[in-house]
């Protein structure tokens, strides 16, 4: 129960990113796990996998998210960051929340149709959420770096969320 409340609090903090210590001090990986699984589930059934049951694609999304987060964390630690390994994983994982919301919206929009208008709506939503995710995670992570290294840390985060946004935007249901 206490853990559930902690997870909920962190979700709220991501949606309204302020410099708060809750995400940094009491890290947990439950939120990222839930987000990763839901995102991977929603990315199922795309036209990329035709004959099999969507297995490889599910595992791919999973691996991309976790492996990507680990690589970014290693990168920021090697650049001399003061944040710990799991804290960084926690922040990166929780900041996937806006993109998960974007995925949900995209799926709903795609129910209505897959034309140009729907694409434009999806594009706007995904770009907005991508910006939100990147800003939220940078707000938490960049502070732990010396000032001349901030760009070097922000760039991989930008790429990471860009790849996820790309997967979301190019998703077309079967």
């Amino acid at each position: 129960m206490r853990d559930l409340k902690a997870v909920g609090k962190k979700f709220v903090h991501v949606m309204y990113p302020r410099k708060s210590s809750a995400l940094l001090r009491d890290w947990d990986l439950w939120g990222p796990l839930v987000l990763c699984v839901s995102l991977a589930l929603m990315l199922q059934g795309g036209s990329a996998d035709s004959k099999d049951d969507g297995g490889p694609q599910f595992a791919e999304v999973f691996v991309i998210i976790w492996f990507g987060a680990v690589v970014i964390t290693l990168n920021s630690k090697l650049l001399g960051g003061t944040i710990s390994f799991f804290q960084s994983l926690c922040v990166l994982g929780y900041c996937v929340l806006p993109l998960t919301v974007a995925m949900l919206v995209c799926r709903l929009v795609l129910l209505a149709g897959a034309g140009t208008i729907s694409f434009i709506i999806r594009l706007i939503v995904v770009v907005a959420m991508f910006g939100w995710s990147t800003l939220a995670s940078t707000a938490f992570l960049a502070d732990s770096q010396p000032p001349n290294r901030k760009a070097l840390v922000v760039y991989p985060i930008f790429l990471f969320y860009f790849v996820i946004s790309w997967m979301i935007l190019t998703f077309t249901p079967q």
Partner: protein, 199 residues
């Protein structure tokens, strides 16, 4: 003399404690629920992995189920069964200045409700055997080239090995020094620090 007579016939109450305490001392399992759940999630995860073809055709359903079982197992072993069955616990703590410490503690004094040998044995066996089984799965998946399961097996190995490592660290540290003052640095609000000693 009269005093001796009185002493002989007086009822002396022997202090064995209440009925409940007696039953507790004799029982083989003082925490049956914890023991059950310690093994339940781990064994279910392994069984589901082995027999997933029987349960469902969908890879995704199996993946998510096993992942959930592994996560519940991790949470329950780390937060509940370790504390109840063997009196050990470990966690990560982050200071004011952002430094992270890993804290490993072992229970100082075994109380009445502390666990029995059978429970401790079940705890350690379950803790050690399951990561070994997942490692075997890792190699079998690798060599049979069923690579889509690899992510799950790696997740299983990491979660179970994390608990194994944490508890072994607690246990080994405890055997080195018998008397160590309770750690004042790592006292948290909800922990009665007299019951545990830092390791």
């Amino acid at each position: 003399p009269r005093q001796a007579l009185v002493d002989d016939t007086e009822d002396v109450s022997l202090d064995f404690g209440s009925e409940e305490e007696l039953a507790l001392r004799k029982a083989r399992f003082r925490h049956p629920l914890a023991t059950f759940f310690h093994l339940f999630f781990r064994v279910s995860a392994i069984v589901t992995y082995l027999f997933c073809d029987w349960f469902s055709n969908s890879f995704v359903a199996c993946f998510v189920t096993i992942l959930l079982l592994l996560s519940f197992d991790f949470w329950s072993v780390k937060n509940v069964t370790g504390r109840l069955l063997v009196g050990l616990r470990w966690w990560n703590q982050i200071d004011e200045d952002g430094k992270s410490h890993w804290v490993f503690e072992a229970k100082r004094v075994p109380t009445i409700a502390a666990s029995t040998e059978a429970e401790a044995r079940i705890f350690w066996l379950g803790l050690i055997i399951c990561p070994v089984i997942w490692t075997l799965f890792f190699f079998s998946t690798l060599f049979s080239l069923k690579l889509k399961w690899l992510a799950l097996v790696i997740a299983g190995i990491s979660l179970q090995t994390a608990n194994l490592y944490g508890y072994i660290h607690c246990k080994l540290g405890g055997q080195k020094t018998l008397s160590r003052a309770a750690s004042r640095l790592f006292a948290t609000a909800d922990v009665p620090k007299s019951k545990y000693r830092a390791v």
